[in-house]
């Protein structure tokens, strides 16, 4: 222990734990790509790589909002159900009004409103987020099933479908959206005071409150953002599938949590990055894509996902310096 006198820290110290962890993850993603290039003929083709990116982007939209919630030490289990209800309501609006713009705003608005409701339950009613959003999951499913009555919505305007399946300068539109929201998410978390406060809340909510951080307002924001991102994902989903059913997003919640965890965000809060979640979504998508290309029986996919999640979290725990 020495006194420091000037703002220079020695070599390794310049790299934060988080940067090191993201670096390892990128390395892992690269190695998976290399392996798949060697093992299969079809992986290293523009079509397949764009396909991977498009799938990863959908997962990332949901998982990025969730990352913020997890950074505060909470969890949002309602995201999948939120995607479903947002997609169905947005679909109805597009059918009724013929306006894609109104549909997009509706989808994000419904998602955000659901998220805000989660936030109110967590802050004003002090219900643990796990339970509040788990209850919300069922409530949303119930409403969506009742609303759709077993029907499927089909056929949306071509302009709207572009959001999910269109290309611009050779790249799918969702990939542009991915880059935009990756930038926004990273700037928000790393380069704003609100982002810093979110990390502080996750690391120790009591200390954060006693340090003058308006904890309830920040949590409300974070849950609302998580909901709005689910709403955004619902729009992309809707535009890509060109149809909506009551169970449309049901299978997305657990993969999104997996992407967050593989991305290095701690479920206890305070540690992790949005960029990490992007890499987590990429790794998960790459592995599943690779297994498809290698014609591995699809029933192995959940097992592999589970093993990757456990491995990633275990390695994080081993590498993280223990201070608490």
């Amino acid at each position: 222990m020495t006194d420091i006198s000037k703002p220079i820290a020695s070599g390794r110290m310049l790299l934060s734990d988080e940067m090191i962890q993201v670096f390892y993850r990128l390395l892992a993603a690269f190695l998976i790509c290399a392996a798949l290039t060697i093992l299969t003929n079809s992986f290293f083709s523009l079509g397949n790589i764009l396909n991977v990116l498009r799938q990863a982007s959908l997962l990332f939209f949901i998982a990025s909002g969730l990352t913020l919630v997890v950074l505060t030490g909470g969890l949002d289990l309602s995201i999948g159900a939120n995607v479903a209800i947002s997609a169905c309501v947005a679909g109805t609006v597009i059918h009724q009004t013929g306006s894609p713009t109104l549909g997009v705003l509706t989808g994000i608005g419904v998602g955000g409103a659901v998220g805000m409701l989660n936030g109110v339950m967590v802050t004003a009613l002090r219900i643990p987020s796990f339970i509040a959003t788990y209850g919300m999951l069922w409530v949303l499913h119930g409403i969506t099933y009742w609303y759709m009555g077993g029907e499927t919505m089909h056929g949306f305007p071509a302009g709207f479908r572009q959001i999910g399946s269109g290309y611009f300068l050779g790249l799918p539109i969702p990939v542009y959206l991915l880059l935009v929201f990756l930038a926004i998410g990273t700037i928000f978390a790393q380069r704003t005071t609100w982002g810093q406060e979110i990390y502080a809340i996750g690391a120790n909510p009591v200390a954060a409150r006693l340090s003058g951080i308006p904890v309830a307002r920040r949590l409300l924001l974070v849950y609302t953002v998580s909901g709005a991102m689910a709403g955004l994902a619902s729009i992309i989903f809707l535009a890509r599938l060109n149809s909506a059913e009551a169970d449309i997003g049901e299978s997305l919640t657990l993969p999104a949590i997996a992407a967050v965890l593989i991305g290095g965000t701690s479920l206890f809060g305070g540690l992790g990055t949005v960029f990490g979640t992007f890499v987590g979504a990429l790794i998960l998508t790459l592995v599943l894509n690779g297994m498809n290309l290698l014609s591995v029986n699809a029933s192995w996919q959940p097992l592999v996902t589970g093993v990757i999640v456990i491995l990633a979290v275990w390695l994080d725990m081993k590498t993280r310096r223990r201070a608490a």
């Binding site: 222990m1 020495t2 006194d3 420091i4 006198s5 000037k6 703002p7 820290a9 020695s10 110290m13 934060s16 790393q190 380069r191 704003t192 005071t193 609100w194 982002g195 810093q196 406060e197 990390y199 502080a200 690391a203 120790n204 009591v206 200390a207 954060a208 409150r209 006693l210 340090s211 003058g212 951080i213 308006p214 305070g270 540690l271 310096r321 201070a323 608490a324």
Partner: protein
Amino acid sequence: MTQLAQSKAAVSIVQAAPPLFELRGISKEFPGVKALDDVSFSVWPGEVHMLLGENGAGKSSLMKVLCGAYRADSGSFHYNGEKVEITSPADAQKLGIAVIFQEFSLVPYLDIAQNIFLGREPAGRVPGTIDRKKILADARHVLDSIGFDIDPTIRIEKLGVAQQQMVEIAKAISQNARILVMDEPTAALSDRETELLFALIARLKADGVAIIYISHRMAEVFSLGDRITVLRDGRRIDEVQPGAVSSDDLVRMMVGRSVDMSYPRTFAQTPGKVMLEVKGLSSSSGIAGIDLVVRQGEIVGLCGLVGSGRTEVVRAIFGADKATAGQILFDGQEKSGGPDEAARLGLALIPESRKAEGLALIRSVGDNLIVSALRKIFPRGFFDQGKSRQVAYDLIRQLRIVTPSDKQAVGLLSGGNQQKVVIGKWLAAGAKLFIFDEPTRGIDVGAKAEIFALIDRLVADGAAALMISSEQAEICHVCDRAYVMCDGRIAGELARHELSEENIVKLGMHHA
């Protein structure tokens, strides 16, 4: 009380025999603190032995050694004159020692009978089951023996504090406890309940149970005690007969702790304007009618026993607990919101528990230093790593925080340096009133002097400080004035020339 007087007479006869239980030269050391220093102590059957001492005098440590939670570093235990070992709670239980802590160890969702026999349930006929009938019968028997008339199938959560205490005692008796240690048993009881407890104590005495009784109430020390032992700084100061001393004598024995006074303090000749004025403040956590004033350039002490409501007062001032009545004026402005408003206005809280309430241990020193100043440093909301690190560096240098880097996780620093980080975060925020809750708890002597020099510099530069401390000597040494609390109220105010440990202890004692 006639019953008690009779049993007191009986004690003098019994004392010819060896004591039921005796501690000889018990010492217990923790890093930096000698919690118990060569303490000897004995109890005879059928006597109440009062244990008296200030916060931190060693009562709790002694209790924990007795019940086997701590292992003594040196010294010996003797039961009926025979040397015994206490190295675990099981040893203590075998010797018949039971401790009734202030925080009960009952399971709220189980009933009285289940709690009394928790972990010792009689087996039923089918292996793995419990003989419910026998439990209930045994529980009734034990409750009867202490004269507690209650249905043993009632769940603990339905009981009041006094009844829970009775269940704890019943549990101890059911384990054949011969030595009962009670930690401030009347602290949470009404007058009526206290009478019932005293009747039970008389009954236990008559049955030959030895009782070690920790108290802060002078009245019961004299009315209940057969002998009184005073502890201070982990040492046994004296053992006296209640008839032979006055309460002033006892106070004198309790105070006079040796505390390092090497930190200087420059007292302001004329305190500045009023920074904080509190009028009739009450909160849901049990404080009521609090009036206090803190002026610029002053360090104002807030003393009283642990549990007298000191922390609750500062939490209510800071907005961490909701005020239910009264007014808080900060710099002439009324304040009613939560901690975020307090921080914005320029209040700072340095909480008692650094780790639980003051710091995000997994985050870096730098992150912790700027967390309260984010809005001030980055008014537009955009965070800049370079600028934030510059602020952190300045604070690390100014406060001489010993850390290899601003990126070091704050949980890895020493206690004194952690405390500096908590103070530093409020310096960065530009706070004008610093509220310290036990600022030197768990900090070594050198760091203590540094912390006090820092507080002195703060108020000299125009800030104000309100300081809670259990170390009366510290309060006397550094404070311009002090308020003394007792039972959730301000019992009195002491001016600089009136500040003495004796006066603080006298005001803070329960006189009921």
